[in-house]
């Protein structure tokens, strides 16, 4: 038996709040967070320089600073094509990464991602209804797939995602069990996929093609006019997520402990679901159902930062998600060629081996999640 126990127990008054003491080592490494931010800026600039046309770095910087460049077309390419695309990718990556983190912590499930709430499924149904069943009115609009067609798709996806989000919120505010919510989200996803399958079955091949190309996902569809809507939604979601970071840490102990520490579980649940719904809903509406980033970014982030503290993980996944999305978009463009690969295929083809490599090398991914 240890002798330590029989030593008199110190009193709180023995521990002066002494400013000379070193701060407690909580195992946080802000320097790594800064490095991630640096990486994000680097990939962002890289994605402005690379593409079917290669633009020198210094010229990219000059364009961004509003200066005159050697070729006028470069300014156009950077400002009108690549900058909105890269901004969209960074926002979407950040949003997907953070909503994935929220879902993984909330459900205490390493496989959870934004799609578990059925938001992707809702958006898919909205788009499928417009693309596949638009017989007379929508068909004419979609025939040319002009700007109006794009907007219609965004609107349909947003409506679908919004409906799924409202349903999730409604359930979350009534149902106590997280497991019920998880299973309900899965069931809704299955149900919606089945409806989409039915719609596909009864539709002509041209329309199916249009639907399939939406499911590939893209960061290139957001114009500067639409950007404030996307950026605003993502910002709102990120602010809510950051606000819940302290409570998410308490939630790591389980709901019983979290409540005993003074966490208002009902408010937290509503905050987490709304943040996830806004983040994932906005991204899915504008970019299509982007998979993989939502699941991979939080795991990579935990592993690299070596902490489960959400005050580090939330900003960390913002940066990590942005890096992943930008890198995927960059690779999908196949720099130097006119070929563009489907984004969702790239995220998984490039991303899965990266995650596997990290898991095998660091061996702490599962432990870091703590299951």
């Amino acid at each position: 038996m240890s002798q330590a126990v029989y030593r008199p127990i110190p009193r709180p008054s023995d521990y002066a709040a002494d400013a000379a003491l070193p701060r407690l080592n909580l195992g946080l490494r802000p320097a790594l967070l800064a490095a991630l931010l640096g990486g994000l800026v680097g990939v962002f600039l890289l994605s402005l320089a690379l593409g079917s046309v290669r633009i020198p770095f210094d010229q990219v910087i000059i364009v961004l600073l509003g200066g005159e460049v050697e070729r006028a077309s470069w300014a156009n390419i950077v400002l009108k094509v690549r900058l909105p695309k890269a901004t969209t990718a960074a926002l979407a990556g950040a949003a997907l990464g953070v909503s994935g983190l929220l879902m993984q912590t909330f459900f205490r499930n390493p496989l959870a991602d934004p799609s578990v709430l059925g938001i992707n499924a809702g958006a898919s149904l909205g788009v499928a209804l417009v693309v596949l069943s638009a017989g007379t009115v929508g068909g004419a609009l979609l025939a040319g797939f002009g700007l109006a067609g794009d907007l219609l798709l965004v609107g349909a996806a947003a409506l679908g995602a919004g409906a799924a989000m409202l349903l999730a919120l409604l359930v979350a505010s009534r149902v106590q069990s997280r497991m019920t919510l998880l299973i309900l989200g899965l069931m809704i996803s299955y149900l919606v996929s089945a409806v989409v399958s039915l719609l596909l079955y009864f539709t002509i091949p041209e329309r199916i093609q249009a639907y399939i190309s939406w499911t590939f996902g893209t960061f290139g569809g957001v114009t500067w006019e639409q950007m404030p809507i996307l950026a605003g939604s993502v910002l709102v979601g990120l602010v809510i997520a950051l606000g819940t970071a302290k409570s998410l840490n308490a939630l790591l102990l389980g709901e019983g402990y979290a409540r005993s520490l003074g966490v208002n579980l009902r408010a937290l649940r509503v905050a987490i679901i709304s943040a996830t719904a806004v983040l994932a809903g906005a991204v899915t509406a504008f970019c299509g159902p982007i998979s993989f980033i939502g699941i991979a970014a939080p795991h990579l982030c935990r592993s690299l930062l070596g902490t489960s503290d959400h005050r580090m993980l939330v900003p960390g996944t913002v940066f990590m998600g942005g890096i992943l999305a930008l890198a995927a978009a960059l690779i999908a463009e196949v720099p130097g060629h006119n070929l563009i690969l489907p984004l969702n295929a790239v995220t998984a083809i490039i991303g899965a081996p990266v995650v596997i490599a990290v898991i095998l090398r660091r061996r702490n991914l599962q432990q870091s999640f703590g299951v």
Partner: protein
């Protein structure tokens, strides 16, 4: 004034469109600072339900739980957290966190929305970690620690919450025996020296009898409170726990499983080998008789111990036979073998 007081409390589960299932009722208990109370009762008596109700995790069916004079139903979660902390049976896996970070979660009710620790918060965390003797664990990743070490940190986390009342559900459940004793000693010290009230639910009868200032005995929908010894003497313990086939020995304070009255044996000797020989024989179902009962009856096996304490020798006499044994295992085999012989003899007659 008592720190914790329950007034006509009834606990249980209310279900819509059905009459509520009352687990226990008319609970009137008090708990003061510096007091260590063990809540005991047979499985299913409702210990966890009572603990959850006191912790505010479950609504009482009726009555009130008063904490420092306030009804806990009227406190906000955060206010409640400053008065009451819990250590639950579940062992959460918190992922990548070191000891300090885990204990720092106890400061949740006191920090602002960013969770930033003030100098005072840090001082409390240092104190809590030292109070449970876990300073050497504090900078290690929690996932590398053993159950007992983790449990210490969870208790430190409860201490860091600076609540007057700490509720622990089966805090010793996953610990080996020395670690259990250590944990109980620690909790006693904490209660006495920091004037906190500690309520712990446990099945560990022996430790509870030794450590608790007061025992809350829960069974049959009622809770009886008293000094552990009083409850033993008054027979409340037997009422609470004893069912078919289990008896409580008031003399030793231990439960035993009733067995058919076995063959009588007589053991002579003293010291540690004597004590353990008696235990082994009792376990094997023999009934120990006093030597005076012998009265020349050679039909009762007699065991005499000789040799020194570290290497005793057992001499077994029965019906003129003598067997010498060098271990309790041999002795038991021999004594049981006698039974067969005696049985056979009786049959042949």
């Amino acid at each position: 004034m008592a720190l914790l007081e329950t007034r006509e409390l009834a606990v249980g589960y209310a279900a819509p469109r059905r009459s509520p299932r009352v687990v226990a009722a008319e609970i009137n208990l008090t708990l003061g600072g510096g007091e260590l109370v063990c809540l005991m009762g047979p499985n299913g008596a409702g210990k966890s339900t009572l603990m959850r109700t006191i912790a505010g995790m479950q609504k009482p069916l009726s009555g009130h739980v008063m904490l420092a004079g306030d009804d806990i139903a009227r406190l906000t979660p955060r206010q409640l957290a400053t008065h009451l902390s819990v250590v639950l049976t579940e062992r959460p896996n918190v992922g990548l966190m070191n000891g300090y970070a885990l204990v720092a979660l106890g400061r949740y009710p006191y920090t602002d929305w960013t969770g930033r620790l003030s100098r005072y918060d840090e001082a409390v965390i240092r104190w809590a970690v030292d109070a449970v003797g876990a300073r050497d664990l504090a900078e290690r990743p929690v996932m590398e620690l053993s159950d007992g070490q983790r449990q210490k940190l969870m208790i430190a986390r409860a201490l860091a919450q600076e609540s007057e009342l700490i509720l622990l559900d089966e805090p010793t459940a996953f610990l080996d025996l020395p670690r259990r004793a250590e944990m109980m000693a620690l909790l006693r010290h904490l209660a006495a020296e920091t004037q906190r009230a500690i309520l712990l639910a446990t099945h560990d009868l022996d430790l509870a009898l030794r450590s608790a200032d007061t025992l809350w005995l829960m069974s049959g929908g009622r809770v009886r409170a008293g000094a552990p010894e009083d409850l033993v003497i008054s027979g409340a313990f037997e009422d609470a726990f004893c069912g078919e086939g289990v008896t409580f020995n008031r003399a030793t304070g231990a439960f035993s499983v009733e067995q058919e009255r076995g063959r009588a044996v007589i053991v002579r000797g003293d010291g540690i080998p004597h004590t353990w020989t008696r235990r082994a024989l009792q376990r094997a179902g023999f009934m120990l008789e006093a030597a005076e009962k012998l009265n020349g009856c050679v039909a009762i096996p007699q065991i005499t111990l000789s040799g020194d304490e570290a290497s005793p020798v057992w001499h077994l006499h029965y019906n003129g036979i003598e067997v010498t044994c060098h271990s309790i295992r041999d002795l038991l085999a021999s004594v049981q073998g006698l039974g067969d012989v005696a049985g056979k003899l009786a049959h042949e007659r």
